[in-house]
């Protein structure tokens, strides 16, 4: 067992983090990634090695920068549905993705579930309404119910990673404030009420991040992460909400007007709306876990 990131993963996160800091706050997540030549990575053969862990690292950084990820999420889902490594549509889909990126931001990347249902209750994905010809020409993809659930889970997983970024950044700015701010001649950080507020947030965030990473690792190496994803999302949004509240408290009155503190605070609730309430997510995790455990095929111990 080893949760160390590989060098390439660390470099990926560092590159995005740097770009997030360089670009103005209104730049979207996709603009951040485009500036790094990200489309080349995604449309290249190397993209095959770009797994859920990498997506989660990427979304954590975008979350820390509170960047809009509408387009990035669509690109990720498009790749999930159309560019499976051995899928027939893989090459043409990657070419279409590049065409879209060159036309961007003329239109959002249009790939969505059509009104038609697959025979077994799954979904048919379609790009027919895209104005980018090569995208519109892609054949529809029918996913069975399990495959479609997996697409949904992966969407949830990167949103959870985004929430981790919000939690982490809230701690970082809270920590910086506690280091710089003096009250009664002592730094805030020297006071346990503040220091422990930050430390508890750090432990909560680290634990939630590991849930997200484990679900991503499961997706990359084992198969559907299933209930782990629902639970990870619940833990992540809980961490985001908790840490942004702590950040406001540490900033005091300034926390109600400081641009970044407020942005993060709002983003925590926004990502909660997109992921769902933690209580429902945990209930979903429980209902998804039980059949798995009853079959004896799976337990919580990944050993």
């Amino acid at each position: 067992m080893n949760i160390e990131l590989e060098t390439q993963q660390q470099e990926l996160a560092a590159a995005i983090r740097g770009q997030v800091r360089r670009l103005p706050v209104h730049s979207s997540g996709w603009e951040v990634l485009n500036n790094l030549g990200f489309i080349d990575l995604l449309t290249d053969e190397a993209a095959v090695g770009f797994g859920q862990i990498e997506w989660c690292l990427l979304f954590e950084e975008l979350g820390a920068g509170v960047r809009d990820t509408t387009t990035t999420e669509r690109v990720r889902t498009f790749i999930d549905v159309y560019c499976s490594p051995n899928g027939k549509a893989d090459k043409s889909a990657r070419r279409a993705l590049r065409d879209w990126a060159e036309a961007s931001p003329a239109e959002p990347l249009l790939a969505c579930r059509s009104a038609d249902l697959a025979a077994d209750g799954g979904a048919v994905w379609s790009t027919q309404h895209s104005v980018v010809a090569s995208v519109a020409a892609l054949p529809s993809v029918a996913l069975d119910a399990n495959q479609d659930q997996r697409v949904t889970d992966r969407e949830l997983l990167v949103r959870a990673a985004y929430a981790i970024g919000i939690a982490r950044r809230s701690l970082e700015i809270g920590h910086q404030r506690a280091v710089e701010r003096e009250v009664g001649g002592r730094r805030l950080l020297e006071q346990q009420s503040t220091a422990h507020r930050l430390a508890r947030g750090a432990v909560t965030t680290a634990a939630a991040r590991l849930e997200v990473w484990e679900a991503a690792w499961w997706e990359d190496t084992r198969g559907p992460a299933g209930y782990r994803t629902s639970s990870a999302a619940a833990a992540a949004v809980s961490a985001a909400v908790a840490c942004t509240h702590e950040s406001v408290q540490i900033f005091g009155a300034a926390g109600t007007s400081d641009g970044e503190v407020v942005r993060l605070y709002r983003a925590a609730y926004d990502v909660t709306e997109r992921c769902g309430p933690p209580s429902l997510l945990w209930h979903a995790a429980a209902s998804r876990q039980r059949p798995v455990n009853e079959s004896g095929a799976d337990t919580c111990w990944a050993s």
Binding site: N2, H196, A199, A207, W217, S231, C300, W301
Partner: protein, 370 residues
């Protein structure tokens, strides 16, 4: 990145299981430790010449985890092999290493960390135990408290004040004390659950010059290191896992609506245990020359302790009141014992407040697990 044991670690755990499965059913814990020691399975991260296998701390963590799962008193193993043994391995003299480490690795010698005193728990600079020069050796007097299973121990790593200056951090020295020497007395102190703590009274106990571990008068940092070795939280993790396992067994016997009602709470705890486990292994993976990163250990200890406490609290509040006729059964007794023990998990082996301070003061918060 991987969230399971690597093949080598899994093989090691399987080897440990085979050894324990082959042991006579009547063997007690100390006999089992000796049996594992004979197979070099107790301290696999020690150098080969001292009875280990020269493997990593993460391999040792896999062993420690399994010992707890198999019901062996893993806290004794942690204090002996990690707390005292690793301190000797890292800071001891060649004589001390040769004398003690092979015995520890063989499961023939247990050890205690004699650091805390009634007035010096979280603040270890407040120790009152003294060591005064006596010819070439020293005479130690004082009282050490909160030592689990000290009655098993042959030696103790004991902190004593060897000089008094204006600096509270100066003048503390670490000694290896023979706990069967004249002047050593043990007094059991009952606790909320389980084995009693022992108060170890040292009355003019003579030790030789070769008893000093590390530098004279400069043992304060060594004391923190010694605690750090046992701080990754694996003992708490094994409690969390076994308590949750027992709870799940009981939930399985409840009516379906109640099972559904409790299901999401169990999943939440289950996933928290999994995260704590990953953090504990992460702390073990930071080890270099047997020394683990103290901030990573702080994260691990907090995560493991928090989740063990959460499981106990949840069992006490949500599960035990629902057990009805089975409230007197063995599982319920075990969960009540968990409830009784839970509070001390955030106090023993370095109070949570100390771990929180460590995390809050790292230059980039959250870096340790990222």
């Amino acid at each position: 990145m991987r969230f399971d044991l690597n093949p080598e670690q899994a093989d090691l755990v399987a080897e440990l299981d085979r050894a324990l499965d082959a042991a006579p059913p009547s063997a007690d814990s100390r006999e089992l430790f000796a049996l594992l020691g004979d197979r070099r399975l107790l301290a696999v991260h020690y150098p080969t010449e001292y009875g280990g296998r020269n493997l990593s701390a993460a391999h040792q963590a896999a062993i420690a985890e399994r010992l707890g799962e198999r019901g062996l008193p893993d806290e004794v193993h942690l204090v002996t092999v990690q707390g005292v043994g690793c301190t000797i391995a890292a800071y001891g003299t060649p004589y001390q290493r040769v004398t003690y480490l092979p015995q520890i690795a063989a499961g023939r010698l247990f050890a205690s960390l004699l650091l805390s005193e009634v007035g010096a728990g979280s603040d270890l600079t407040g120790i009152q135990t003294t060591a005064t020069p006596d010819g070439t050796g020293w005479r130690i007097s004082g009282e050490k408290c909160w030592n689990l299973r000290a009655d098993w121990s042959g030696i103790g790593l004991c902190s004593a004040r060897t000089r008094t200056t204006g600096n509270r951090y100066d003048g503390v020295t670490q000694f290896l004390v023979d706990l069967h020497a004249p002047g050593v007395s043990l007094f059991p102190v009952p606790r909320a659950m389980g084995e009693p703590y022992f108060s170890v009274v040292l009355d003019d106990v003579r030790v030789g010059p070769d008893a000093i571990v590390g530098a004279l008068h400069a043992g304060m940092s060594l004391m923190m290191t010694a605690i750090g070795y046992e701080r990754a939280g694996f003992d708490y993790l094994s409690r969390a896992r076994s308590w949750l396992g027992v709870a799940q067994e009981e939930i399985g016997k409840l009516a379906e609506p109640v099972q559904s009602e409790l299901g999401w709470q169990v999943v939440r705890l289950e996933r928290s245990v999994a995260s704590a486990r990953a953090m504990a292994f992460h702390a073990a993976n930071t080890a270099r020359d047997l020394r683990m990163d103290e901030v990573a250990c702080a994260y691990s200890k907090l995560a493991c302790g928090n989740v063990a406490q959460a499981v106990a609290r949840w069992a006490g509040q949500e599960l035990l009141p629902r057990l009805g006729a089975r409230a007197d059964g063995p599982n319920a007794s075990l969960l009540r014992a968990a409830v009784a023990e839970a509070p001390e998990l955030s106090i023993s082996g370095g109070a949570f407040e100390l771990q929180l301070d460590l995390i809050a003061n790292e230059p980039s918060i959250g870096y340790a697990v990222r």
